[in-house]
């Protein structure tokens, strides 16, 4: 609990720090632009080729919205890990190790950008729009399922950040691969899972459980012919993924040798 309090303190500090930058109009503009540019490639593909059988634009946008909102949540609350690798290269991770607190909380709290909430808002807006277009009636249980899926997805993306930071303990340099993983997962959201080759489907179910937190909850809520319980898989899958990531992190911290001067 103590650590949680520390984490909220970090967030508050970063938030107040962020307010010092007077670029608010530009931040608002960046929100608007990211709302427009993010899904534009999907929309263009659909406008050019039309829908693939039952796989209409509303369905894609629903799955995409799930991915977007979860990613936004992870970026909001685990941003510190996204920026982390440079602390290894410059050796400033030593400072974190010296403090008698959890390294995870300290790294998590290092960065917090409130304007990252734009992705969450965009994702939720997309989800609402597609649910309305698909004429899905939201019951309480479905709402809970969507919420659980978002939390699970947030844990998965946070796990991706943690893994990429942990890998940096060995590779020292920052990897650009998080961008590819997250971008790749958006890409997967565009494609009906039954058209994916089996090995790709397995990767995105068991390795990076994208389908579990984006596709299955969407399919369960909108009733696309899968068992309703499958929609609950997001939460355990996300927890397992994050747990594995944190284990890797622990191993990384153990084998850390300082690089700075």
């Amino acid at each position: 609990m103590n650590e949680f309090l520390l984490y909220t303190r970090y967030l508050r500090m970063n938030y107040l720090g962020g307010l010092q930058y007077k670029g608010w109009p530009m931040v608002m503009l960046s929100v608007v632009i990211s709302l427009v540019t993010d899904p534009v490639a999907v929309l263009l593909l659909f406008s050019r080729f039309g829908s693939i059988g039952e796989w209409t634009i509303e369905r894609v946008m629903l799955v995409y919205g799930m991915a977007l909102a979860s990613f936004g949540l992870a970026e909001l609350f685990a941003r510190g890990y996204d920026y982390f690798p440079r602390h290894i290269r410059t050796g400033s991770f030593d400072r974190i190790l010296l403090r008698p607190r959890s390294t995870v909380v300290q790294v998590l709290g290092m960065e917090f950008h409130l304007h990252r909430i734009s992705k969450v808002v965009a994702g939720l807006a997309v989800i609402t729009w597609s649910l309305a277009r698909l004429q899905v009636r939201l019951t309480l249980i479905k709402l809970l399922q969507l919420l659980a899926a978002l939390i699970g997805g947030c844990m998965v993306y946070a796990g991706v950040f943690v893994i990429s930071s942990a890998i940096a303990f060995w590779t020292v340099n920052a990897l650009n691969w998080t961008w590819l993983v997250t971008n790749g997962s958006y890409q997967v959201a565009k494609c009906p899972p039954h058209l994916l080759p089996a090995w790709l489907r397995r990767i995105f179910t068991f390795l990076m459980p994208m389908l579990l937190f984006a596709y299955y909850p969407a399919a369960a809520v909108a009733n696309w012919g899968i068992p309703f319980v499958w929609g609950w898989l997001a939460l355990p899958a996300g927890a397992a993924f994050l747990f594995a990531a944190l284990c890797l992190w622990r191993v990384g911290v153990k084998s850390y040798s300082s690089t700075g001067s």
């Binding site: 530009m26 503009l29 593909l45 693939i52 020292v172 890409q187 009906p192 790709l200």
Partner: protein, 283 residues
């Protein structure tokens, strides 16, 4: 120190730029594990995107409607985008320059007997050429060795290959000119990171990294061809794929050069103005 260094002759400016390039490429090559991880994710990303594009070509309701790009060309385009990914403005946003501006180390940069814009321009080029050289051979090999629908086909003609490489080199300069502008934006520390993300989002989209520009709606094609970021990768790749004849290279190059000149001039003037009231941060 000692004798004042004359900065204005081009040859004198070229030498330090080349050594910056050499230094950056060597530094990038130091981190081999990171290079491998990046390569494999690029290949995986390309495959995922190809699966999706092929699905749309095969099963889309309007897939019969002809566009400028055949399925095989779209697949080739996707491979080539992943090969040239490091050349895009959005990749490798220069965290070090950001740090230099925020920590006040920019003061040291200003003491160097080298125009700051030129220095950072060379830096931007070096930061991209290094990873690109690492990408180009392995990914091209993988792309050629893929099974049939996923394969990258050889260039449309030898002339097409050569002109596309030349155009890609100009595209790199275009990227660096764009980066020049982002550096000046970064100097306005109190604007925050918002404007940078706006610029990255727009350039990535308009350069055709997410979707080949030729698959965009027909009424936008003229605009897409003329806007500055088509020259970054989309137009060079068209020369490779043969959707633009090698003769068109002249037109493409003129377009690229015009935009490079415009962006460099804008960036350089803006930087000069910004430097007059720059506040060195930190203490």
């Amino acid at each position: 120190m000692g004798k004042p260094v004359r900065q204005d002759t081009p040859m004198r400016m070229l030498r330090p730029c080349l050594s910056i390039l050499r230094m950056q490429v060597l530094a990038k090559l130091q981190y081999r594990a990171s290079a491998w991880a990046q390569l494999s994710t690029a290949v995986l990303g390309a495959i995922v995107q190809i699966v999706i594009i092929l699905a749309f070509y095969k099963f889309g309701l309007r897939s019969g409607a002809t566009s400028g790009l055949s399925a095989a060309q779209a697949v080739g385009y996707t491979w080539l985008v992943h090969i040239t990914l490091p050349l895009l403005p959005g990749m490798g946003l220069d965290a070090e320059v950001r740090e230099k501006i925020r920590s006040g180390d920019i003061g040291v940069e200003l003491c160097r007997p080298l125009d700051l814009y030129t220095h950072w321009f060379a830096r931007a080029a070096a930061l991209r050429v290094g990873p690109f050289l690492l990408h180009v051979i392995p990914i091209t090999l993988v792309a050629f060795l893929m099974p049939e629908p996923f394969r990258l086909h050889p260039p449309a003609s030898l002339a097409g290959l050569l002109t596309s490489m030349l155009a890609l080199a100009l595209g790199l300069l275009l990227t660096c000119a764009t980066m020049g502008l982002t550096y000046v934006v970064l100097m306005h520390v109190n604007w925050g990171d918002g404007p940078i993300y706006v610029m990255v989002g727009i350039t990535d989209l308009l350069s055709g990294a997410n979707l080949p520009l030729q698959l965009w709606p027909a009424f936008m094609q003229r605009f897409l061809y003329l806007q500055p970021f088509a020259g970054v990768i989309d137009l060079p790749l068209r020369l490779y794929l043969g959707t633009l004849a090698p003769v068109a290279f002249l037109q493409v190059a003129l377009l690229q050069l015009a935009w490079i000149a415009a962006l460099v001039l804008a960036g350089w003037l803006w930087m000069r103005r910004t430097l007059t009231h720059l506040v060195i941060q930190g203490g």
